[in-house]
């Protein structure tokens, strides 16, 4: 799941922010709408992130937050990276 730069980026951003909008994610990761949307769907299907659909006036405002599961998966991934670096040294 985390072998992709965009998915990893989304998770890195979500673990340090309570809630973040689609546009903010797009801006920070410098990706296209379609590309980001695909990765967000796959993260959601895996139960790593939660989607909240809201409105600001008439415009849709979709925000994302990390789930308990997602947070755990991310921490495990960091631990794995850590071990990999330690192992090579």
């Amino acid at each position: 799941m985390f072998d992709n730069r965009i998915r990893l980026g989304v998770m890195s951003i979500l673990v340090v922010n309570d809630e973040i909008s689609f546009n903010d994610l797009k801006q920070m990761l410098e990706v296209t709408d379609g590309n980001l949307a695909t990765h967000l769907v796959s993260l959601e299907e895996n139960g790593y992130i939660k989607v909240h659909k809201g409105f600001i006036g008439r415009k849709t405002n979709t925000t994302y937050s990390v789930t308990k599961n997602g947070e755990k998966a991310f921490t495990d991934h960091i631990t794995a990276l850590e071990n990999m670096i330690k192992g090579v040294k």
Binding site: S12, I13, D24, L81, V88
Partner: protein, 203 residues
């Protein structure tokens, strides 16, 4: 060799994660130059106040040899306009330098981190500003300078959570100087000048 490449990849990945976490939670494009510019404006204004506005007021006063309400009202308006001018100049230069730096870093100036920084700084600052205007309304000028320093310090401490952490120490200093200033009422301008200099050294 394979191991070495793998290590490079892993390190790069860790770097990416770190960058994303930092970029998304703190506004790091605040420019140090804006602090220097603000300091220059403030010291210039302190000079104008001391050797221009106050000097003229006292020359008049010496000729008249008694207190004159009109002349005092003019003095207050001049000082307030000067303060407003400094604020505008400092704000615009801060905006300009920060805009330039964020452009260079390729991040947008108005994103969710800068919004958050702006609000968290604005809350204590606006509350303090209104409080101080209230004091002026009741003609109590004595605590204006310490109140400015303390509220500004609190604003910085609050804002530091959303930008460069060094700002927090600057905030502590402001609060301490403000509290000391409380005990030496009337030397307000000198205390102000001290912290502007400090701010310049810091950046």
């Amino acid at each position: 060799m394979i191991d070495h490449n793998q290590q490079q990849d892993t390190l790069q990945e860790v770097k990416d994660i770190r960058q994303m976490m930092e970029r998304s939670s703190r506004f790091i494009s605040l420019s140090g130059l804006s602090g220097v510019a603000a300091g220059v404006f403030a010291l210039t204004a302190a000079g104008i106040a001391r050797y221009g506005i106050f000097k003229n007021y006292y020359i008049d006063y010496d000729q008249r040899r008694h207190f004159d309400a009109n002349s005092f009202a003019t003095l207050k308006i001049q000082l307030l306009s000067l303060a407003a001018a400094v604020f505008a100049a400092a704000f615009l230069s801060a905006f300009y330098f920060t805009w330039r730096k964020s452009n260079k870093q390729g991040v947008s100036l108005w994103n969710h981190t800068s919004k958050r920084l702006f609000w968290n700084m604005a809350i204590p600052l606006v509350a303090g500003g209104l409080f101080i205007l209230g004091m002026l309304q009741y003609d109590d000028w004595r605590f204006v300078s310490p109140a400015c320093l303390i509220f500004y310090g609190l604003a910085l401490v609050n804002a530091s959570k959303y930008t460069l952490t060094d700002i927090r120490y600057l905030g502590y200093c402001e609060i301490i100087v403000g509290l000391i200033n409380m005990q030496w009422i009337g030397f307000g301008l000198y205390f102000w000048a001290v912290w502007w200099k400090y701010e310049k050294v810091k950046v």
